[in-house]
């Protein structure tokens, strides 16, 4: 098993490449999820204040 | 009935997400003058720029002599002239050079430049670079430009800005003579304008 990880001496290059790739893809996926959570929260908050006209908080563009 | 020149059907224009006005219908025929009313921020300038196809419209349609814009743009531009807030005058060029440039661009008679300059009272400052002229005098250069234009439709945005009493009288007289000569004028202004002798329709802008 050990020599598998050695990757024939190129361990550093192979694993850094794969690691970097999946790290960047994780960052993209995380960004997508955070954006969705932020927008859903903003829209629901806005809808609630919509129903109570006096406490209407201006919708930030 | 005289042929309608410019007509707009259920026009709506937005500034960003904010609706300025919607379902606006009007048309203007030869010999008519249309004054746009509305307080600041009511979208008068946006409507003017939309009529010149400079601003995209959300809904509705504008047509020139029945042909929809912006397709019939070429024909429309050759028969209209627009004078906006910024005077579109080159500071380094003299009044005469500015006018002769507009004349060659819009194909108007060169000879009438001298008359136009004297009519607006700039004949003795015609060769001074415009950056040395006062705001009122620069506004008079735009009025001279209107004089030499062959356009049927004048679209003026606040034509009275920075003009003195004589200037205001000159504008009133120019609009009246243009309308009676078979032209049409759309303009916005805050100060009241006494236009005797021609029917002035006014249009209130609300969203």
């Amino acid at each position: 098993m050990k020599e598998f990880f050695a990757m024939g001496g190129y361990a550093f290059y192979v694993w850094t490449s794969f690691g970097l790739t999946f790290m960047v893809m994780a960052i993209i996926a995380l960004g997508t999820r955070l954006q969705r959570r932020r927008v859903v929260a903003a829209v629901t908050r806005r809808a609630q204040t919509e129903s109570k006209p006096d406490a209407r908080e201006p919708f930030r563009e | 009935m005289t042929d309608t020149l410019l007509s707009a059907q259920n026009l709506a224009v937005f500034r960003g997400e904010h609706c300025l006005f919607s379902d606006l219908n009007f048309s203007i025929a030869a010999g008519e003058v249309l004054q746009l009313h509305g307080d600041n921020g009511s979208g008068k300038t946006s409507l003017i720029r939309a009529l010149c196809t400079l601003l995209p419209i959300e809904q509705g349609e504008i047509s020139w002599r029945g042909a929809a814009l912006p397709a019939a743009r070429e024909q429309y531009f050759s028969e209209m002239t627009y004078s906006g807030h910024s005077e579109a005058i080159k500071g380094d060029l003299s009044a005469r050079e500015n006018l002769s440039f507009t004349a060659s661009l819009r194909g108007t008679a060169e000879a009438s430049i001298e008359q136009a300059l004297s009519r607006v009272g700039l004949q003795d400052r015609a060769d001074l670079p415009c950056r040395f002229l006062s705001a009122g005098q620069r506004r008079r250069v735009t009025l001279a430009r209107l004089q030499i234009s062959v356009a049927v439709l004048w679209i003026l945005d606040e034509p009275l800005t920075s003009l003195d009493v004589h200037g205001r009288a000159l504008v009133e007289q120019m609009i009246a003579s243009h309308a009676s000569g078979g032209g049409a004028v759309i303009f916005t202004t805050h100060q009241p304008l006494s236009l005797d002798g021609c029917d002035v329709r006014s249009l209130e802008l609300t969203c």
Partner: protein, 222 residues
């Protein structure tokens, strides 16, 4: 149509004649940038001769970029851009007049100055015709492509750096063929290939760029 083309061209040239700074600054910049290299790299002739084509070409490219920012900005600020858009003549023809005026003001003087800089950079004399020919075609193409960036960023207050960011990648093919033609000439090889490719790029830009510039200006003046 031709009358208004010439009228606009004449107007821009008279304006440039009255406002020296607009076209002298890029020229001074061009000369200064080239003279920096011997100071930075050392006066050794062989090395300078080696890098001369690249240095002159990059400096010409940067000087054109510097001059592009003001191409439409003056007309945009004083409102005459709108009047030009509202003229009955086809708008992309007038845009071509503006770009040609810009080239006559900045591109041509660059061309005339480049032999002087070729001497400063010890470029062999036999490479001079190639330098002039490639700069001629090259600066025309650079003005056309750069005008697209200038039109896109004319409405922005600090559009200068963004303009560079937008158009520099598009300048790369012109730079590659231009400087390699001068390198080939200085080594005595034939340069027909590079010059014909530069010519093709110019034709390509001449046909497509005005449409993009016209659309971009209409968008920016909304």
């Amino acid at each position: 149509m031709l009358a208004s083309f010439i009228a606009l061209l004449k107007r821009d040239l008279t304006l440039a004649a009255r406002r020296r700074g607009d076209w002298l600054n890029p020229l001074a910049f061009f000369v200064m940038v080239v003279t920096l290299f011997p100071l930075g790299v050392g006066p050794d002739g062989d090395l300078l001769r080696e890098i001369a084509p690249g240095v002159i070409w990059v400096a010409a490219l940067l000087a054109t970029l510097l001059a592009l920012d003001g191409l439409f900005r003056a007309d945009y600020d004083d409102g005459s851009l709108e009047q030009l858009i509202l003229s009955p003549q086809p708008w992309s023809v007038l845009v071509l007049a503006k770009v040609l005026a810009h080239w006559l003001i900045t591109g041509l003087p660059l061309l005339c100055l480049s032999p002087l800089l070729a001497v400063v950079m010890q470029l062999p004399a036999k490479a001079l015709p190639a330098l002039l020919a490639s700069l001629m075609l090259g600066t025309l193409t650079l003005s056309l492509i750069g005008a697209i960036g200038a039109a896109l960023t004319v409405g922005l207050r600090r559009g200068g750096v963004l303009l560079a960011l937008l158009v520099l990648p598009l300048f790369i093919p012109v730079l590659i063929f231009g400087s390699s033609s001068v390198i080939a000439a200085s080594q005595g090889f034939a340069i027909e290939a590079q010059l014909s490719l530069l010519g093709a790029l110019f034709m390509f830009a001449l046909v497509l760029a005005p449409m993009a510039i016209a659309a971009a200006l209409r968008i920016s003046s909304e």
